[in-house]
Symmetry: C2
Subunit: 352 residues, 2 copies
């Protein structure tokens, strides 16, 4: 090893789902099967290219204002970043500086562990129960902070607001982050609790319900004090994270509430129908409240099925890691895409 290599930080990187370049049935990264709101298309056409030569507004004011209006909060209660990954990573860096371990579920969004290790934050994973449900009592012990997704990923299980509030009530001395990437497909948001618990941060994204995974926009909503700390940290990294197109298209995507609600409803309808189809085929899964279904089949090996699907250009997600080695995460696509999936599964099962 060369001397200059001695002080290089080595990390085990997160491995994202594949982004195949060919045309496939892509049910592996929880993208929205429908395009962004029509206003986004229009903004693309009408954007003045000269705008690209200028630095974007570092405060992202236009986008912050649009979100504040949509959610009925103050503009000083909204923080935006390059996808909710950027927002969450900033939250870890800013808020989790205790000597005590932060708590999150053992089966959850795998980036939590990566950030904790990157920033050298002590952490302790709390085991989901046999039905993959969060055991809220596990979060009542002393800790350095709490984070969990609701609905949880990749289980798709949603816990109601009373459950979330129980965790908050028992954790008023630390920051609690509720990661709501999939909340629009699920039910009531913890946003209802932000005035009541000033240690609560709710993180959401444009990648799922707003059909803009490709634009990388995420946001946190909390009280003005915590949002200010987040902005200070962000300005220390990179003042201009949101580029001109993200700002412009982001505003258009937020403005169109009707399109947003319609799109979400279509996906929820497809999901409910897909649950029935999967059940008919003998699959088992926790009740999904997200835009994906976390399914297993008692008679077929998940890895083999994953490979077979892939061979037929149907991409789903498979991890093969502890406790979930027999599970596949299947994104809810269009009804047509799901039909192709079910046709394949039916044949697969009949021929085995």
């Amino acid at each position: 090893m060369k001397a200059f290599e001695k002080n290089i930080r080595r990390v085990e990187p997160y491995v994202p789902g594949e982004q195949p370049q060919r045309k496939v049935i892509k049910l592996n990264t929880n993208e929205n099967p429908y395009p962004p709101a029509p206003g986004v298309w229009k903004a693309m056409q009408e954007m003045d290219p000269d705008r690209l030569r200028l630095y974007p507004d570092p405060t992202a004011e236009s986008l912050v204002d649009a979100l504040a209006e949509f959610y009925g909060v103050g503009r000083d209660q909204v923080f935006v970043g390059v996808g909710s990954d950027d927002v969450l990573s900033m939250c870890f860096l800013t808020f989790f500086n205790s000597e005590k371990p932060i708590f999150f579920p053992d089966i959850t969004y795998s980036f939590y562990k990566v950030w904790a290790e990157l920033y050298r934050i002590p952490y302790e994973c709390q085991k989901l129960d046999e039905d993959f449900k969060i055991v809220k009592e596990d979060y009542y012990r002393e800790n350095g902070g709490v984070i969990f997704p609701n609905p949880n990923a990749p289980t798709a299980i949603y816990e109601d607001l009373d459950f979330v509030e129980d965790i908050l009530m028992h954790n008023q001395d630390v920051i609690v982050i509720v990661d709501e990437a999939y909340i629009d497909f699920a039910g009531r948001s913890a946003l209802e609790l932000i005035d009541k618990y000033e240690n609560l941060i709710v993180v959401q994204t444009f990648s799922k319900a707003r059909s803009m995974a490709g634009m990388r926009i995420g946001y946190a909503i909390s009280n003005p004090k915590l949002i200010k700390y987040l902005n200070d940290a962000k300005y220390s990294f990179n003042s201009y994270t949101m580029n001109q197109t993200s700002l412009l298209y982001g505003v258009e995507a937020v403005k169109d509430r009707e399109y947003f609600e319609e799109t979400v409803q279509k996906i929820v309808d497809t999901r409910e129908w897909a649950k029935g189809e999967l059940a008919k085929l003998g699959f088992e899964f926790p009740d999904s409240r997200a835009n994906f279904i976390f399914a297993t089949h008692p008679n077929y090996d998940a890895k083999e099925l994953f490979e077979a699907l892939k061979k037929h250009d149907i991409y789903v997600r498979f991890w093969g890691s502890e406790r979930i080695e027999q599970y596949l995460r299947i994104t809810v696509g269009t009804k047509e895409e799901m039909q192709i999936l079910f046709d394949f599964l039916r044949e697969y099962i009949n021929n085995k």
Copy 2:
């Protein structure tokens, strides 16, 4: 103070130059006065909006390939990020983990200090000499890493390749980063040295010579080993940092070498003319090799002049910090913009 505030990381954020929303003569943030390459305009018009719903390619392959081809290096030698700020910040986190202080100039890009403090990296500033020049011998002592811009900012002074190589020769056991945001306006790049020094990282940006400050694209070029470490760190933060529009427009901006060279030449020509005009008005400045001029006037207070300019909708940059309290940084705009500036300065001087 609430208990949950105890473990919040508090940082002194970097304060970026103003981004006025009104139409002004904007010579305060070193943006390019010319629009991006025509291919970028075309890509904007032709982009399929459906692409926005999909996650971008986390490896940013298309953009990496375009840069590798442009600079004649391997695709495994290129790392891209959300502006050179993101790239540099990743470099600090990844490469500067020594107990010994990293070295950089006392008057330089002010983000270096911010990142060092954010990541708790010890650092030691080396004083520029009376003419604002880097004293290379100051960098020959033992250290934990070296970073300097060439041309330096905000002085605009360029040092030739022999000078850069002297620093490299004396620092083969640590990582040396040459921050070349302004190199295209200056002269030979340290890229010529990357095969010779495997501890060298060269960082450049699309914000200046490529007219894309608004898109937030920066890159590092080095040997495959160091680029891999950078990518590992990046994937730990956020796998998908470059959004779909950055990838698409970035490729178009790199492809058009002729437009790039023409634009740079126009700015260099304007700069050379502007130096003469400023000298005629009695200003003094180090010889600029960047797209800005760092100027002082023996008879007029910089802060007063800065305020007077601003009142007339001419924005330049002023810090008022130690050693440079009498200096203004003036971006080289179009010839027309500079003419308005000089007309104002002439009147200001005549009426004082």
